[in-house]
């Protein structure tokens, strides 16, 4: 009943807007730019503090439904749905007061209707009511990014929202303050590089023998998958689309002295990131830059449906693990990645005084 009422409201709203008269639009007069989106964990090139006037920032994303391997060791697959072919979708960066103008494409090769709900936007179910596209269609949505922070975007088709989200359809929009990030006293903060991590709780069904099932199409996986979803126990929890995506050749990299911004999105389920051997120097766990950052955090908490931000300056070389610190979720279910850091070891911060050896009497 509740869902039904929501649908009705959305439909009424959409027709109201579609019927609106084309008045002179202030956004039309602004400069338009078209930055290039890149695949996670990387983030598109962008300025932090900017002298530019507000502008219309145009993006294009193409929805891709495809079968992916979520656990290479065991060959487990999922019928995924993605923005631009990646989990998470690419991170978009704009500045406060800019307009985001997204062209969303649903190619005829897909089977399902999709849309997009931006948590950063205002109205029409986050844009979801204005962006419903069937395979073979595209749409353009514009909204004003009038609040700073990192915000989730995700697909939200009426009647099957959770399935599209846990199948991969989410990403982050970062709206930076025009004068960049600030510490608790209002002093400027600058990062040298930025990574984006999307955490996904997956619900892969098993057969009678306890083996993960494989499906021919996304829709054929629907019934069993929703059954597992209703149990609220994920079969896998992964960063960026599969177990180990951010380890080995996929590990994040940094140097001693370098300041890294970690954007962490989780569209459906709570998580608690932690950098093993490091800290959160400045953390906006709920991702909104109008609030003062917390400092020196060991572990921070990102509620499901939120993108959070952590900034850290590396002081020691080595391999760090970046994990969800429910360690079962990290090491059994997959929510763990690595940061490979080069540089000189600092004995003052840590020193092995006696290497492990036999106990002396």
């Amino acid at each position: 009943m509740k869902v039904f009422r929501l649908c009705m409201a959305a439909t009424a709203l959409a027709s109201l807007l579609a019927g609106g008269v084309a008045l002179a639009d202030p956004a039309d007069k602004l400069e338009h730019i078209k930055p290039v989106l890149v695949a996670p964990p990387h983030v598109m090139e962008h300025e932090q503090a900017t002298k530019a006037k507000p502008r219309v920032v145009e993006f294009t994303m193409t929805i891709e439904e495809k079968k992916i391997v979520i656990d290479e060791e065991n060959g487990t697959t999922m019928q995924a749905m993605t923005f631009n072919g990646s989990m998470p979708g690419p991170t978009m960066v704009v500045h406060e007061g800019d307009y985001v103008q997204l062209t969303l494409i649903n190619p005829a090769t897909n089977a399902l209707e999709h849309n997009i709900d931006f948590h950063a936007s205002t109205g029409a179910l986050g844009g979801g009511a204005l962006t419903k596209i069937k395979p073979g269609e595209q749409t353009v949505l514009r909204f004003k990014a009038d609040r700073t922070g990192t915000f989730i975007y995700h697909c939200a088709p009426e009647g099957m929202v959770p399935w599209h989200v846990v199948s991969g359809m989410s990403g982050t929009l970062m709206v930076l303050p025009r004068d960049g990030l600030k510490d608790q006293d209002g002093k400027p903060l600058h990062y040298d590089k930025v990574y984006t991590i999307g955490e996904f709780d997956l619900y892969i069904p098993k057969d009678e023998n306890g083996n993960y099932k494989e499906y021919d199409t996304a829709l054929e996986s629907y019934g069993d998958t929703t059954e597992v979803m209703r149990g609220l126990i994920p079969s896998h929890i992964v960063f960026n689309g599969k177990k180990g995506a951010l380890t080995g050749a996929g590990a994040l990299t940094a140097k001693v002295g370098e300041t890294v911004l970690f954007i962490h999105s989780s569209a459906n389920r709570d998580t608690r990131p932690h950098l093993i051997g490091g800290h959160g120097d400045y953390v906006w766990a709920t991702g909104k830059f109008i609030n003062k950052p917390e400092r020196n955090l060991e572990t921070w908490f990102i509620p499901g449906g939120t993108a959070g931000v952590m900034m850290y300056t590396f002081k020691q070389p080595g391999i760090y693990a970046y994990v969800n610190h429910n360690l079962i979720e990290a090491f059994e279910l997959g929510a763990a990645g690595h940061v490979k850091v080069e540089g000189k070891w600092n004995d003052d911060l840590m020193k092995q005084v006696v290497a492990p050896s036999a106990i002396k009497n």
């Binding site: 089977a111 399902l112 209707e113 009426e158 199409t217 829709l219 019934g223």
Partner: protein, 105 residues
């Protein structure tokens, strides 16, 4: 089935309605496919799909007959993908349509 047909479009739909009669085995097969895939839209009415068990929504479709319903099931219509987004064969698809029809009576 006959009851609802007689209420809506008796003369038009009597023949196709008769050809829709289905046995328990078929309905079981159809229910299985329905529950794995079709349910995604037809349980909630997502993307304007006629909901399972909604007699009002199904009556005009049933009136058009099995051939037309199979045409939609095979080739898709609106937000409904061809074969309901599955790789099921024609007989299984037909069984799923028969199952949905049986629940609208």
């Amino acid at each position: 089935m006959l009851k609802i047909v007689s209420l809506t479009a008796l003369s038009l739909a009597l023949l196709p309605a008769l050809s829709m009669a289905s046995d328990a085995g078929t309905l079981k097969t159809g229910e299985k496919l329905y529950k794995s895939a079709c349910v995604a839209c037809h349980s909630t009415g997502a993307a304007n799909a006629p909901k399972l068990g909604n007699k009002q929504a199904w009556a005009p479709l049933i009136a058009k007959g099995m051939d037309e319903m199979m045409n939609v099931a095979l080739h898709g219509k609106g937000a409904m993908p061809a074969r309901g987004g599955t790789k099921a064969d024609d007989a299984t698809l037909r069984a799923a349509v028969e199952y949905m029809v049986s629940r609208a009576q």
